[in-house]
């Protein structure tokens, strides 16, 4: 997802859900009593980038481009730590490589990190693989979980783009287009995940995640009761956010441009073309075209002016610095 494909309303809604999930995950990770979890999550995040450099003989195309995904991370780190790790990967892709957008971050976190770590891993992978280290079970679990994660993610992309009112493509057509592509990508990712996990299960099974938190709650009662008090609050907060975000998104979808609508309501000002003075003065269509041309002309002029100033300042800088050296 890129910024261009979301409306601010959708960005706010998905952002709110993503932020809540991150807060919950952060508190969950704090409860993990494995003392190397902080450096482990850190280097595993970097590993995701590194592993992507190692190319695969089946050509992998597609919107997500993450062959190493949440299912593999979850199988090593556990779902919550994996979620935080994958979120950090997505944030770095955005804030370092400008890949994916700042406002689309919430969408990306939900579509890629939440689906794989918080839905596909606990609901698909764990039940199928169990605690077994048999390759066929790991393979089946990885493929099923990856496909489900990517399909839900693809549906998410479709839904968010449609609700943002960006594309004229009908939802059903969009879905019919996205789902098969992501079925293929999911299958490839599943096979890749399985290949790595089978290797780990065979040579270093202790690196695979087994429920630390469950062990901890049984041996340290204090912590268990502490999280017990916290849990209802967190769940309540999460549900409230979901309802809020859902309502917000629904409002946004009921009106193609949700923010527009709410601002109109609040301020009583409408900036629809029919109400502007310009349309009273000129026929709408022509003024629209003239407006575009005018805007382009002004921007080009602005560009020219700033470029000239920029070069002049830079030359002045260089002159003064060479003088300084002499």
């Amino acid at each position: 997802m890129a910024d261009a494909l979301v409306s601010p309303a959708i960005a706010a809604g998905t952002g709110a859900i993503a932020a809540t999930l991150i807060a919950v995950a952060a508190s969950k990770v704090k409860q993990i009593r494995r003392d190397d979890i902080i450096p482990l999550m850190g280097v595993m995040g970097a590993f995701v980038f590194a592993a992507q450099m190692i190319n695969f003989s089946i050509p992998g195309t597609g919107s997500s481009g993450h062959i190493i995904g949440g299912v593999l991370l979850s199988a090593v780190l556990g779902p919550w730590a994996a979620f935080i790790t994958l979120c950090s990967v997505l944030i770095i892709q955005c804030l370092v490589f400008a890949d994916g957008g700042l406002l689309a971050l919430g969408c990306n976190i939900l579509n890629m990190a939440a689906t794989s770590c918080l839905i596909a891993y606990p609901l698909i992978y764990r039940p199928i693989s169990g605690t077994s280290l048999k390759p066929w079970r790991i393979t089946a679990a990885s493929i099923a979980a990856s496909i489900i994660a990517l399909e839900i993610g693809a549906a998410g992309v479709t839904l968010e783009t449609e609700l943002s009112g960006i594309t004229a493509l009908p939802t059903s057509t969009f879905l019919a287009f996205m789902l098969p592509i992501h079925l293929a990508i999911g299958a490839i990712e599943g096979v890749a995940t399985a290949a790595v996990l089978c290797f780990l299960a065979k040579y270093r099974p202790e690196t695979l995640y087994s429920d630390y938190t469950a062990d901890e709650s049984s041996c340290t009662g204090r912590f268990a009761s502490g999280s017990g008090r916290l849990r209802p609050v967190l769940i309540g907060f999460a549900i409230a956010t979901l309802i809020f975000a859902g309502a917000f998104t629904w409002l946004a979808s009921a009106n193609p441009d949700g923010l527009e609508w709410s601002i109109e309501k609040v301020s009583g000002i409408s900036d629809m073309p029919s109400a502007t003075p310009a349309t009273a003065f000129m026929p709408d269509y022509d003024s629209r075209f003239a407006g575009i041309v005018g805007a382009i002309i002004v921007m080009v002029m602005l560009w020219a002016i700033t470029t000239i100033i920029f070069h002049r300042v830079r030359n002045a800088h260089q002159n003064s610095s060479t003088k300084g050296k002499e």
């Binding site: 450099m53 004229a168 075209f289």
Partner: protein, 253 residues
């Protein structure tokens, strides 16, 4: 990526830059797709800010073009499905689908340019600190710093392994699927091993669970001014029909 060296807005607090960028994106992305002219006005922000950050706008523009394929891919369906006529130009009717297509391209490029500006001006580590101070949980701020720190180390490790393999693979550039798993698994094991060593180095220096970075980050008057200049500009661009104003002005002259 290195922050721009000693630029005019390089001293601005990353929180201010982040805030201005977010307001810019919200204002720009909330413009209806049919109002291409209004979206174009928003180009003023990168065009003015880029030189202030010692970046030629030309370069920023060129760097932002990498999103073009995605934008075209999503946007191209609009002219196909939305054939409502919008205006006629020299006898040719332009569909509103084409207008929204152009709008998607422009807003995509501008959003990327704003993001690139933010990245070039403030270093990643400062941005993490800013995020932390804006209420992002400590766990994720620490996590971001760690990932960023070990990104280059692990990329180098992967590259070394890759070269070691290439040296013995006689020109085959990609992996057989059956070898890929063990290879990446090996990299994963090395990664886990490294985390164990880092953990020891951290514990040896008294690590107790929270990374505390430098506390010097001060919000100055310059930051307030920076926000107070740009944010009203974005609001005006969003809610005032600048093109129409200009046209009326021309008409009166």
């Amino acid at each position: 990526m290195k922050p721009a060296e000693r630029s005019h807005i390089g001293d601005i607090d990353p929180r201010a830059l982040l805030l201005v960028t977010v307001v810019y994106l919200v204002a720009m992305l909330s413009v209806p797709l049919q109002r291409t002219d209004m979206i174009i006005w928003f180009a003023a922000y990168p065009i003015i800010s880029a030189p202030l950050a010692h970046i030629a706008y030309e370069r920023l523009f060129r760097n932002s073009l990498f999103v073009l394929p995605l934008l075209v891919f999503i946007g191209i369906f609009n002219p196909i499905y939305d054939r409502t006529p919008a205006f006629a130009l020299f006898g040719i009717t332009i569909n509103s689908g084409w207008i929204s297509f152009i709008s998607i391209i422009i807003r995509g490029l501008l959003a990327t340019q704003a993001l690139l500006l933010l990245i070039r001006v403030s270093g990643f580590n400062e941005m993490c600190e800013a995020l932390h101070r804006l209420g992002c949980p400590g766990a994720i701020a620490t996590q971001l710093l760690m990932v960023y720190r070990y990104l280059s180390v692990l990329l180098e490790e992967a590259l070394t392994m890759q070269h070691a393999r290439q040296a013995r693979s006689y020109g085959k550039n990609s992996f057989k699927a059956s070898l890929w798993g063990p290879f990446v698994g090996q990299l994963l094991l090395r990664t886990i091993e490294r985390s164990r060593r880092i953990n020891m180095a951290m514990k040896a220096r008294g690590f107790n669970g929270t990374l505390s970075t430098s506390p010097n980050m001060h919000w100055t008057t310059a930051d307030t001014v920076y926000c107070l200049v740009w944010i009203p500009v974005f609001f005006s661009l969003r809610f005032i029909d600048v093109s129409a104003l200009l046209l009326t002005l021309f008409a009166y002259c």
